[in-house]
Every structure is written in structure tokens, then in C-alpha cells.
Subunit: 487 residues, 2 copies
């Protein structure tokens, strides 16, 4: 040893095995390859490629795909970044189109945070959390307290906090819908805790079934798993499905009976085409009101984000969760955990405030806000349906009417020859299909295996965010050629 | 069980025990109490308090204490938030004081990120990472590649990523300086890994001693610890001490010989009053050049942040780390880990770009930039020395001349009666002293026990960020009264 060790300290076999085990396909190999194509095209070296643009349909990232931000939000944000502009109100209003409510909001938020360059309280600025509480009250018709609101670095960070808090040992199990957004399984890998999958019902528009849940729960208990929580993504990702009231109630009753925490990921609550969004908080309060004393002990954590909806401010990393029914001593440990990373990004906290407290009817910026909001919604719906129609023209591809979120999750049926070829290449069949799709069309989606799916079924998830509908024709053409090759 | 469980699922005994074990005093009980005082005063209910302002001297948060942001940074940021303003260049330049380089920089950054509301690549926008690489090259005189740069949600998130990657099992040990910024010990608690403390040399202005390091290492090895990394905070937090070249070299040689990764937390690299900052990267390359072949295998991770220096943009959560000498397969696992949380806040990434690539001499915004930079530096130095002088007037308080960072870390010697009283109240003696300080003066600091200290020694850490020097007199008066009470 005296001449020194000349090999590296770290290698695949000795770093954290839980990170090794974790999988996150949304930004996996396929996405990396699509970025390589994009870089190639940007350098003008893409003449050999059969496409001239890369379409990132793998990730819910609206503003990377030309969705414009909400004007009010960004006008306010510009004043938060440069409060010196507030000394030139006339210029702002007369020459730059800033209305008086923009200026008022910036002043209010600067009182809340002092500076977007200062750390806030770890839980987030109290004034902003108060706005969130008021939003929740308006939405649900039940009280909410700013003390139970935790602003977070996107909802992803909130999920990370909750799972870190709840997962106490390797036997801890968290129920996760299949298919799910793989933040859950990846984080549980890293925590060396157990995923308890419950299957969503593909035959019933990806509905949540109590049977499925209780089957999964019983199986896990029999295996010695200490099941501590059930995650519900509502509206669903990747499915878009919104749970009807009776299904939410069933989940809550299940949680009360078995003693599990409910984690309600509600980031797509304003992305609903079919059905309606009912918050778990409202359903819980309704249930508690209708059967007093019986369900008062339920612990619920509900998450929201500025990344989705019509807001689409992914890069700002704004989000929050509300803790309902948690013991104060447990909330204190949550507080301690989040305080180690100091606080969520402050400008992102401000975007949260504006998301939950947008211009109201009668206010100067309302008209434009409403127009932008409705235009974005209409555009999302139009593109969702264009994709849906395209899928109808693709042999063996089955897709429900777009229900919500930012995704479609069609089922694909591949010929045996294709499945064989996939195996030869060491890939899951839907992965193989998606790689071929990327190579032929420049469109990057995510294979269903990345989200979990019932054995023997194949899917892929695509967003409907990319502008226009031309690119859907690329998919139709590719699929024809693929089927011709492998039939 | 059929009538349902009526107690809570989660309690202190069944949540993640590693979070229970973690301690982070910077935002602990004392800080919480100071916030309660602040709220009381804000509501006008503080007539019974012996102070009329709360001074948050517990946390390096300059802009919460009236430090103004750098104008150039915030002008650019306002354009990034509202790119529509770029359609009114004349108004910006003629009426709002935006110079042409502000506009040019905003355009460059918008090309890099497309929108601050869009997720970037998980590692951060390539163009911004390129600016960071160029900064490192200019600073050190050695090449750097954007591929080895990882933008992060503050440097804290980078530390979290690195420790998560390296800590593979409970026996993994990470060497940590005592005293240290408690992010390290708190994160290692959460990871259920071992802290291997090495003591900084208080008698020699908190210098880093190889003896101390090797003693700590040998002890850990004997205890069966798998020591994988050594953390060095340079300049130090809480100590402010800058490592001279020969000490950095000694650490690198130690790391090479024993086979440990070096984690260099360099967030205070521009906060230096005594000595000079030498980056670990430069020292490593110098060493590799002077003794070719012998030290090529060293793995080094260097961290920086927009929260400190003269930039002070804590709330923006901007930071980065550079990985030097890591195996590609390990870097890929780091990439996967960070991709689960998608990307660092994009406006924060842009602040990083401006920190490493500020206005240059000859450019229109340079004069103001330089003036602001120098004024902030002079203010920090003045307040540091005012505190230092105040400590000289406090019996039993010993403090070195301010060396750097944003903190002073004086030693305190308390009379036996005070130590008894602390024991009666169930507190560490320095904690007890700090609580009394808060109650008497409204000044919130952090007890030395929060950072680690040699057995039998007592300290506290205070920032020198609060404006003015009046509040230092509160401390002198309090200390007099404290000593009178307990002598």
C-alpha cells in the first residue's frame, strides 16, 4: 500500500447499490439518444437523418415546446427579480404593458419574501403559504391552514420528502399504481424500501379499483411487508384518468381501515378533459362530515405543482404539499428534513402564489390571463385529440379518448417477429419499438416498461405538448413501415 | 381490526429513524424561537421584549439582511423572466438604465435555456455549463470541460448527490472537519453512514492538519469503517480559514495514498480576508504536473454556489460541482440520480452563469458591477472587524482575526455556575448561552455544539451580515450581564 493505490476509489460495484438499482426511464437511454440527435441537427450534421427536427414527447415540459408562459406571472416575476423597476411605474404601465395589478402583486410578494435572493423559511414564505391555504379553501369549501402547507422544489421534492419520512426500514412498503410516474419506484429504490404495486384497470379507462388495491395489500402483508402508505396519482400519470368520488372514498376508507397514509399526487388537477377533478382533501372532509368520528384519524398528504396545468413553469421548480391529520411531532421531523436543504427556490414559491391566486374577474390583467389560459387548454385538447385520431390509424394500437394530464398511453400489439428482434437486441419489446420510432421519426417517447405495466402488455407514453399536429403523421408512417417489416 | 384503526399511522417511533437522528442546528430550536420573536414584534406585541429588532445572525443569508443584489444580475434576470421586454430595447436602455450588455446577456441565456420555465437537461443547460468550465480554466490555468460540470439546486443539493452516491452501506465513512457546516453530519445521519471527524487546529487559526486527518483515518479503519471520502470546506465554515497550498497538497497526497475521494466545498472562495483561495482543482493539476503518473487516479469533486461571495443569491438556489477523475460509469449513476428530480431551478442556473461570467472591464455594466462588488466586500470586512473588536471587549471570549467566509466562530469560556445552570435546563452550555443571548438581545446565533467542537470547548457562530455595527454593542452588554450573573 505504501506506493499508493493507483485505481479509482469509486466503481459501479462499490457505489450506493440503491442508486444502481433505481430506474428512471423518462430521462433514460432513449432521451439521451434523442438529445444526441438534437445536438447533431443543431450543428448542421444531420443530413443522414430521416427527420429534421427532434420532438421531445417524453417529458411534460410545455415551455420547451413553445408553450408561452402566462403573461401576468412573468411580468410580476420580472419585477421580483428587479424591484428597481418599481421606481418607474409610469414606464411600466405606459410603455411596457404592465397593468396596476401586476405592480400590486409584485409589491405584495416582495413583502412576503423580502428578496427572491434571500432564503425563506424552510417551509416557504408564510404569506405565500397563506395564499395556498386560501386556494385550497376556495377549491374544496373546507378550511386550510398555512401551517400545514409546505412549499417545495417542485412536487418531486415533496414526494422525496414524504417517502424519506415514511420509509423506516427495508420492509416498509408503499403502494404505487401501475402504471405510475417512475419518480415513485426510483425513489423507493434509493430508499431501499418496497414497492407494493396495485394495477390500474386498463379495460375501464385505467380506473382505480379497490379489488386491485386490496389484492396488492394482502399479498404484501403476506410477504412480511410493512405497508405504510398508498400513493394515488389523480389525475393519472401516464394515464390521465380522474378518479370519481366513490373511488376516492373507497381509497380513503381502505386507508382508514388498514392504517396507511394517503399520498395524493394531484399535479394535473387542472388538466382534465373527461370527468372532473375532486381533491382527496375535499373527499376526506366530506367523508368525515358524513360519518363523524369514524375517519378523523386519516393522514393525507396532497401535492401540487407549477409545472403542469396551463402554468407549465417546470423550470421554476414550484410546488407544495399539504399535510392533513399528521401528528405535530412527525411534522416537526418533516420540517427538520427539509431545513437541511434550506428552502425551496424563492421565485418558484412566488410562481406558486400566482398559480393559486391568479388575476380575478374585474382585475386589469384578468382578460388576458383568461384568454391565455383558455387558449392553452384548447391547444392541449386539440393536440391530444389529433394524437388520438392518429393512433386510430395505427394497426394494433389502442388508445382511450384523452382523459387529461399531458399524456396519452396507448397500448401497442407487436408482431412476434418484432418481439423476437427486441429480445435479440436485449431490449423490452416496447423499448425496442420506441427506439425504432426515434430513429425513424425523431420523436422521443417513453416505453411503457418505464412506468410499469401488466405482464404481457406493451405501451408507450407520449405527451401532446409539441406544437402542431404534423408530427403525428410521422408516427403513423413509421408504424406502417414497422408493421410491414415485422409482420 | 374490522372497525378500523383509530390511531395515527405515523409517530416518532416508526418514521425514518435516520431522520430522527439527524441534527441541523442552523435552523433548529434557537432559530425557531427567534422567528417567534420576530413575528411578535411584527404584530406590535413586543413591548415586553428588551429589544425591538431581531437580528438573524445564524444563517449566511445576506439579502435577508439588506444586502442589495448585484444590479447586472437582476436586470438580466428580469429579462429572462419576461422576454417580451426585449421587444422594447429603447425603453430598457433609455428609461430603465439597462445597458447593452444586459440585453446581450439575456439573449445569450435565452438561447441557452429557451425559457426559464422549461426543464433543462438534468445536468443543467450545456451553454451555462460551458461558461462554468471557462471560469474554472481562467481561475486555475488548467482545462475544464462542460461535460464534468453538474449544475445543482444550490451547493447543498450537490453535497447531497455526492454523499448519496458514495455512501454504499452503514460502514461507509466520510471524513468531515470539526467544526463543520452541519449539512454533512445531517446528511450522513440520513444516509445511515459514518461520520469520521477530523479536528481542525484551533490553536493555529483553525488550520487543517495532516496529523489530525491521519489520526482520524486510522481510528476509523481500526473500527471497521470503510472510509471513502474526505470533505474539506475551503474557505472554512464556520471557521473562515483558507488552506495554504502545502496543506491542500498534503490532503491530496493523503487521498491518493489511502484511496479516498476528495470533496472540496469551495462556496466561500471569494470571501477571503486573510490568505488566498487556492482551488483543489488547481492544486491537483499542479501536483499531477510536478509528479507525473503518481496522482492521476485522484477523484475530486469541487462545489461552488451563488449563495455566498458578493453574489449572495441564496434564494435562487444556484450552484454546481465539477467531477474530476471519476469513472464514466460512476458519473452516469450520478446523472441518473439527479435526473429523478429532473433539473436544478433554471433561473438559478442563469445566476450561476452570471456569477462565473460577470461584466468585464470595458463593458458597459462593468463599472457599476465593480463598485457594487467592492462595496459589498468592504462592508463585509468592516462588519467582521467590528464584531472582532466587540469580542475583544467580552470576558473569556477569544476570537481570531476574521479570515473569511461570512462567519466568526469565537471560543467562549463560561463560569462553572453557568455550566451548572445549563445542565439544570438540559442544555449544552454554549446552547444555554446562545438562548440567553437571544432572549436578552434579539440576536440569533448558532451554538458551537451545532458544528462539532473538541470536547470541553465552547463556541458560537455568528454571521457578520447584519447591517450596521450597533447590534454588536448588544452582545457586549449582554455578555457583561451574563458574566455578572454567573461568576
Amino acid at each position: 500500500m505504501s506506493s499508493g493505490i493507483s485505481h479509482k476509489v469509486l466503481n459501479l460495484d462499490n457505489i450506493n447499490p440503491h442508486i444502481r438499482a433505481a430506474k428512471y426511464a423518462v430521462r433514460g437511454e432513449l432521451a439521451v439518444k434523442s438529445e444526441q440527435y438534437r445536438a447533431k441537427l443543431a450543428k448542421g450534421e444531420g443530413k443522414d437523418l430521416p427527420f429534421d427536427t427532434v420532438i421531445a414527447a417524453n417529458i411534460g415540459n410545455p415551455q420547451q415546446l413553445d408553450q408561452k408562459p402566462i403573461t401576468f406571472f412573468r411580468q410580476v416575476a420580472s419585477l421580483l427579480e428587479n424591484p428597481g423597476l418599481l421606481e418607474h411605474e409610469n414606464v411600466l404601465t405606459d410603455s411596457l404593458g404592465y397593468k396596476s395589478d401586476v405592480i400590486a402583486r409584485a409589491k405584495k410578494l416582495l413583502k412576503d419574501v423580502k428578496s427572491v435572493g434571500a432564503y425563506s423559511q424552510s417551509q416557504g414564505a408564510p404569506g405565500i403559504r397563506q395564499s395556498v391555504a386560501e386556494y385550497i379553501e376556495r377549491r374544496d369549501g373546507y378550511p386550510a391552514s398555512f401551517e400545514n402547507i409546505y412549499l417545495s422544489n417542485g412536487a418531486s421534492s415533496g414526494v422525496n420528502t414524504l417517502l424519506h419520512t415514511i420509509c423506516a426500514k427495508p420492509e416498509t412498503g408503499i403502494m404505487v399504481p401501475i402504471p405510475q410516474y417512475p419518480l415513485y419506484t426510483a425513489t423507493l429504490s434509493i430508499l431501499d424500501a418496497r414497492v407494493v404495486p396495485y394495477y390500474l384497470n386498463e379495460e375501464q379507462a385505467w380506473g382505480t379499483s379497490l379489488d386491485s388495491i386490496t389484492t396488492a395489500y394482502d399479498k404484501a402483508i403476506a410477504e412480511g411487508t410493512d405497508v405504510k402508505a398508498i400513493c394515488v396519482i389523480n389525475p393519472g400519470n401516464p394515464t390521465g384518468a380522474s378518479l370519481p368520488a366513490h373511488d376516492i372514498k373507497a381509497v380513503l376508507k381502505f386507508a382508514a381501515e388498514k392504517g396507511v397514509v394517503v399520498i395524493a399526487d394531484e399535479v394535473y388537477q387542472t388538466n382534465v378533459f373527461i370527468g372532473e377533478f375532486i381533491s382527496f382533501k375535499k373527499a376526506l372532509r366530506d367523508l368525515q362530515k358524513s360519518e363523524p368520528g369514524k375517519y378523523d384519524h386519516i393522514e393525507l398528504a396532497s401535492l401540487h405543482s407549477t409545472s403542469k396545468g396551463m402554468v407549465g413553469e417546470c423550470g421554476h421548480r414550484g410546488g407544495y404539499f399539504e399535510l392533513i391529520g399528521f401528528e405535530p411531532e412527525v411534522a416537526q421531523e418533516v420540517y427538520k428534513f427539509i431545513s437541511i436543504q434550506l428552502c425551496p427556490p424563492v421565485i418558484g414559491q412566488c410562481i406558486v402564489e400566482m398559480m393559486v391566486n391568479p388575476p380575478k374577474e374585474g382585475e386589469p390583467s384578468y382578460e388576458l390571463y383568461k384568454k391565455e389560459y383558455d387558449t392553452i387548454f384548447a391547444g392541449l385538447k386539440e393536440r391530444a385529440y389529433a394524437l388520438y385520431e392518429a393512433f386510430k390509424r395505427m394497426e394494433g394500437v389502442k388508445c382511450d379518448k384523452p382523459q387529461g394530464s399531458m399524456y396519452l398511453f396507448p397500448t401497442i400489439t407487436l408482431p412476434p417477429k418484432a418481439i423476437e428482434q427486441a429480445k435479440k437486441e436485449g431490449r423490452e419489446p416496447d423499448e425496442f419499438y420506441c427506439f425504432r420510432m426515434l430513429d425513424a421519426t425523431g420523436v422521443c417517447v417513453v416505453a411503457g416498461s418505464g412506468f410499469g405495466q401488466k405482464e404481457g402488455t406493451l405501451h408507450f407514453r407520449t405527451t401532446f405538448l409539441a406544437p402542431g399536429t404534423e408530427w403525428t403523421n410521422r408516427l403513423v408512417k413509421f408504424h406502417e413501415q414497422f408493421m410491414a417489416e415485422f409482420k
